[in-house]
Amino acid sequence: MTEAAPVISAKNVWKLFGPNPKSYLGSMEPNRSFEDIRKDGYIAGVKDVSIDVGRGEMLVIMGLSGSGKSTLVRCFCRLHEITGGTIEVEGQDIMSLGQKELIDLRRRKMGMVFQSFGLLPHRTVLENVAFPLEMRGQERHTRRERALEVIELVGLAGREDYFPRELSGGQQQRVGIARSLVIEPDIWFLDEPFSALDPLIRREMQDEFLRLQGILGKTVVFITHDFDEALRLADRIAIMKDGAVEQCATPGEIVMNPATEYVQKFTEDIDKARVVTVGALARASAHTAAADGNALDSEATIQGLARQLINDTRAFMPVQDKGGALLGTIKRQDALDLLLGAEG
């Protein structure tokens, strides 16, 4: 999925909140912990984060409340001025942009859905959605057409003339989504877009989001609290704690090989079989040559192949990727352990 040149590239990014963050960071000795920094009177919203987001990739950021997710995303689009490090968007250092260039970048490339909607209360749905176009100076008629199109896309057709206070939370969030999409951004930031919704609608919105993303194929940075949601959506998951990224990897990787204790705790309650693919379990071993019979698809999850794994009595099974190339074998016992929980 990831292409060579990343769309967003953050290197050693710091964001400190406090009276005099720049000079504090300059004089700070290395390896000070979040707690140390807090004792010095600063909050490390983002702490030495380096992360790349590839074109067309969907990066999900997770972490407990207050771990710095929103802050990090705000740094990506320069709603916060970062304290240290560099952030490049499409090869351009965004901290070096002038006011005009920054506005231009946001007008052309970026869309954002806010945790708390951020709808303008005095404008109708249509006017809210058309707002970014209006700011670009687009002519009334064309921006109306375009806004109607996006409103239709998020399933709010017929409510164009409602005011935000006349809509439910879920509908308001759809307006937020429509507004962020109206300029056809290349990069799409979503800050807990579904957290205000009840489980049923949330599920519906996730499906819709996947459908949209299927059509649009944007570069997405998505924040959520909900591991299930992350698993459904993510190419990669970044787990944050106290401003720092603890681990950033594919869902399977995170579940199988948690980098830290914290990540492990985070993933403890997850039904691993739903996440782990056959490919992730496959090992090239002596058995590879010996194994025969029909091969398993490397991208299928263990859960997806549950029936087959139970019925097929071979101790080792070959795994191949989409192209048909043999990747290795999986041990049936490993797969069953994952599926049913290890014995004893």
């Binding site: 705000r74 689009c77 709603l79 506005i103 231009d104 946001r106 007008r107 970026m110 869309g111 954002m112 806010f114 708390s116 909607f117 951020g118 709808l119 303008l120 209360p121 005095h122 404008r123 109708t124 707002f131 970014p132 209006e134 700011m135 670009r136 164009e160 003339d161 409602y162 005011f163 206070r165 006349e166 937020g176 507004r179 962020s180």
Partner: protein, 671 residues
Amino acid sequence: MVAQADPSNAALSRLSSLHFSVVLLVVSALLMIAHSMGVLPAWLVRLPEAVIPPTAEVLDVVFAFVQNDLGLIHVTRSIAAGLEYLLDATGNILYGKNRFPYLNRVSFLFIESLGPIPWSAVAAGMAVLGFWLGGWRMAILAGGTFVWTAMIGQWDIAMQTMSVLIVAAPIAFLIGLMLGIAAWQWRWVDNAIKPILSVLQTLPFFTYLLPAVIFFKVGPTAAAVATIIYAIPPMILMTTLGLQKVSPDIVEAGKMSGCTRWQMLTRVYIPAARTEILVGVNQVIMLCLAMVVLTAFIGMPGLGAKLLAMMNSFKLGRSFEIGVTIVLLAITLDRLSKAWVVKQPKHWERETPWWERHFLLLLGLGAFAAFYIISQFQTFEILNEVGRKQSWSKGREIDRWIKGVLEIDSIQAVTGWLRWFLNVKVLIPFRNALLWVPTPALIMMVVALAYWLGGRKPAIYAAVFFGIVALSGWWDRSVITLYTVISAVTISMLLGIPMGIMASGNKRLANWVLLTCDSAQTFPSFIYLIPAIMLFGVNDVAVVFSIVIFTMVPLTRYTIEGLRAVPLEMTEAADMSGANALQKLVSVRLPLALPTMAVGFNQAIMFAFFMVIIAAFIGTQDLGQELQRTLAGTDLGKNIVLGINVSLMALTFDMAILEWAKRRKKALGLG
């Protein structure tokens, strides 16, 4: 201050602050004892003339320099010309002023052919506007007010007042909005504006008037200028408040939508601060109305001038009728603008035809036009203008009736006795006592009070401010002003606080009283003189009485609000400890309500300082009297000195009381 931040030291510092106050009080007592034994040197009783600097004269020289040598007068005169143009236009449209020195012939003919608008057309338009803003009740209120005004035969004077109001209010709104934005945007503007605003808000209104007259001609122009300046401060405050309160989510959404700074301000901030800005509009309108009425003192014709004339010649019936008109106008303007604050835009279903979307607008225009045309016919002449003979005014009858009632023996006995008692037993002795106190002793008492209430900062200000008053050369008159304020507020407290306590016990009664207070607060202060003069005639007691009713409004109101805000669990705790109603009131509810009540008390004092100056025309001997006298001449320096004296005394109390309320709230954990 630093020591007081430490809770363990709080008790100690409280003691020491008391200590300092006590020392001051003892010293001032010693001075008074010495004075009573006749051993105090004269220069300690009153500052000798020799040390009083010629502030007024110096100010006059400065003003003359700015006015003539720097040419400020030309600037103001050209502004005045612009204003006069607008005022002539509104005057002509509303009541047919027929004076257009600045118009060429064509536009003259155009506007001439428009005005004056028939009263029935205005009333119909206002009724539809009222309906749009607040349904039937508002329609009846708005339409009814204007029908009353016309039928009672006061249309022309009311329109004279309105013609200034509709010029002054939008200008005050715009200036206030811009200054408010500037203060929000730039720290230094905020820092510069704040102190000016607090002085402006305590400056007696006579002090607005004279500069207006000198720089902007007598009559409506000066009235408009004074009104505009008077109405700006709350608009600034509300604008800044509203802009600061805009939620960061919306701002970030705006930024991500690619707003420039200008777009951010006009499309995001200002619309999002709509509520506060409209509250500001409401206050601008109400202050404008209050001030326009008061500009009667500089020869502005209209409701105020008529009221002033009627009161001066003791025509109570007509005064009463004009008072009703003013009150109705105030309530109408207040309710309409408040309805506008809460009015939310409403969406239309698709395919609604445009005439249906704009139905009320069309109806309003239609009604306006219809009445306009009908009233041009001879038969319906009455819809155009209510003549002197046709009006329903019952001025003379009411007059006779009121005077009749007042002459009933029992009533006269009561008012007569009250007048005698207050004058002979309370007011005059108190006044004489205050006047007898040596200047330094009185200053020390005030400083002691400020220190005891608010600590060091208010005490320093009290010393400096009262020092300036002493050096201004108007000490005795200032003391008389102070005496009137203190006596009136004391009486007002004796009446208003028990009333508030009583009302707070009953939810419905409390709501009703609060509503009454709300309405009463929108009345122009001038109105409060009417009952005072009716009951007590033209003397000191009437002055005090008018201040008492004026200040009872905030006292009652904040007492109720303070008592209501006492958390339920606290009164319940008292119930569980077996306290009876009185114990509960004294030891739980009142102490907790006190900070809020202090805010009301403070407002009462500010109102009193305001009213005492207006009441001057009844014939007091205080600063107000002297101030009013300056209006006839060109003593700008003296006018300012007198005005600043009032302002400084008011500010002293303002700072001390508010500081006390703040600390007390903090100590009680009420946020």
